[in-house]
Symmetry: none
Subunit: 222 residues, 4 copies
DNA sequence: AATGAATGAGTATTCATTCAT
DNA sequence: GATGAATGAATACTCATTCAT
């Protein structure tokens, strides 16, 4: 929460926000992530932001508007690395091993999520209750990200670097394993002692072995 | 939701519930899982349950009481198989391979979660907003389940059936991979075409290879 | 409140009360006197009395019924000594001085009020809000008591024992002075150190001198 | 009640009240004095004041807040003449007889109470149910007023104008006699025919004779 | 742009009362 | 007679939103 400023400056860099607007968004992120959208009142946000109640509604027509205007840039930035050339770089030049790609992606998303934790919490907590959010999420993440990811998986499957199972399953294992670490690390046990480097290394090894084609062969031929 | 009756009959079998009380709980589960605790009004629950609003408060002092009295048995039943002899069976007789244990546990929990989906949704959605819930969850799941699971992991590590990494990480991989399937299957894409048997088989293979000590050896000795 | 039992046994001696009924009345007196009629809920009374909520309404059609059935005997007993022969005794034989009468009356009413303090509190607190109560009070106290009292005052005025001002004023001075002591003693400063005998003596002297015809004369003829 | 406006303007002159706020206070005084605090609903006050129910809670956080904010200035103004120099005037210059003081004080408080009757009713009716009120009352009235009054009584006792009994008793006689008149006059029998001047004169005479030191002597010497 | 008073529908909860057992 | 589940109207209070300033 102390990093709210930077989050906002980063996530909302394109939009011109007045001082009060920034404070409203900060306060909203803070409260939404802590008590949920329904559990947070606009008056509470106003008080925390140090503005009059009416001011919120001058900038955001409704409370829901405020929520969406907070989540939208988060969604956009989430998929950023997948829609721009970064991914091509991975494919074309930099990393010609699946391991290389994995390490690059984890490093990249790890930093992003770490810096947008409260926003991320809001996103995953509110998605179930707001169909528009779910739709946007599906369209952006599920479609755009998935498509890129799929071709990438097929590419490495053809190079026989990963096992030959449905790409959807491969993607699922990747995401649940990586996000699983992230949830465990930051949402469930944020206060435990964590050796991030080691843990990430173990996680990468687990993924690589789990998806290794050799492993599969061994299992098949007695 | 159509199975609410059976859920209730099953989860609340010990308690003597009046007819109206059952209806209240059904309605509450339905609404809470759909719109969240904060987003659900007691008047809505009353209407859906076909009772007067006052009736709710005759049985549950507060709205939060209602929530807790719904989740408590869910938590208890969640850990049931881990605290009773079932686990010993797994260790002692039935399954002397990690694969055997894995298959048994997935089958068991899969059925349970499938039958308590709405309740499960409520649990994971509300935990972040209710410290008491988190505490109960930690105490029941994290402590009791984790302890059993850990000794089990060590046991199979000693039998050299799984890789020699911190048991906590092994447990994490198991849970995130299995739950990851469950979330994807029932919460994110419940409408997709799923071949459960195949998907579970793939998932088990992924886990086994990811945790296999052979894989590790191969990796270590070129 | 500890004396509730005795109050009830005494005030409600004529009526046949079941055990539960007694407990209801005790609880009602306790709560009404402490929090007022409006501020007391029937469920609270039921709980305090250790009976089911419905039981109250089996004996008293409404909550107000309960209030009235509590105050009615109090009102009746309040005027008892004024409507029976007691007063004639005072006039005829026992006390042929106003002082004698005063001492007798104070002693008599002092004991009565002291033993019915909670009931008395209820009476004076609720009268302003219940026209029926006010009516009953007027009819019983104001009419019956006043009439007796007036003839008594006139009697002593004729005997030149008290000053010759409107009897209504004489009665007012008597009542406000005596009740004034009682309020100060039991309602305002019940925890102070009180020497009742001395205080009552001073009060009687004050009344006697204030109403003395000599005093008046002295004051008139220098 | 018809004078509510003037009461408010007078009692709340220091505070800046919006139009609606004034109406809320008027309505609250009206209802509280008529049906008691517990017996009055906020919706009733809102309706009577011609404002939305929410408006009440914008200005007063709770219903009790409204009550206290009504009574506080009443308490303050009640003791006003006792804490400022007025009293010294009485002692120093104007009145060097107890009778003079008595007449001045009665005249002064008579006007005040007459103009604040509903507020006064609320005060005495609600004090028994609200410990904070009792505390405030004790602190303001019982302490400040009493202290001034006591030194005054001692002063006149030394001048041998009033009888030599405990000052507390003298004060009690004064207050109960004067308030007794006020209660009888305005609360119990407001509809009777009252000759205020005459009645007050009789009351003053009663007090003076009752407290006269001569009377005492007569009584002492056979 | 910003305020904050005002709103009225809505909130969780309490109430006196009823009624089948 | 006694119970306690059930009621629905009422309660104190909150909410998102509007609007005149």
């Amino acid at each position: 929460m102390q990093e709210s400023d930077s989050i906002i400056d980063h996530l909302f860099e394109d939009e011109k926000l007045t001082d009060k607007q920034k404070k409203i968004i900060e306060a909203a992120i803070d409260s939404f992530s802590e008590k949920g959208y329904s559990g947070t009142s606009t008056s509470e946000i106003a008080k925390k932001a140090g503005v009059a109640e009416g001011t919120i509604f001058r900038h955001y027509k409704t409370k829901k508007d405020l929520l969406l205007s907070i989540i939208a840039p988060m969604l956009a930035k989430s998929i950023a690395p997948f829609v721009i050339k970064d991914l091509y770089k991975i494919l074309d030049t930099k990393y010609d091993s699946y391991e290389g790609f994995l390490r690059a992606m984890i490093a990249n998303r790890y930093v992003f999520l770490k810096h947008n934790l409260p926003l991320f919490k809001i996103l995953i907590q509110e998605i179930p209750f707001h169909p528009e959010l779910k739709e946007q999420f599906m369209e952006h993440i599920a479609k755009k990200v998935y498509t890129r990811f799929e071709s990438l998986v097929v590419y490495f499957q053809e190079k026989e670097q990963i096992i030959n199972i449905p790409p959807a399953s491969v993607i699922r294992f990747n995401i649940t394993t990586i996000m699983g670490y992230f949830f465990t690390r930051y949402l469930f046990f944020p206060d435990a002692d964590w050796n991030d480097d080691e843990e990430i290394e173990i996680t990468i090894q687990f993924l690589l072995h789990g998806l290794s084609p050799l492993a599969k062969k061994e299992d098949d031929s007695p």
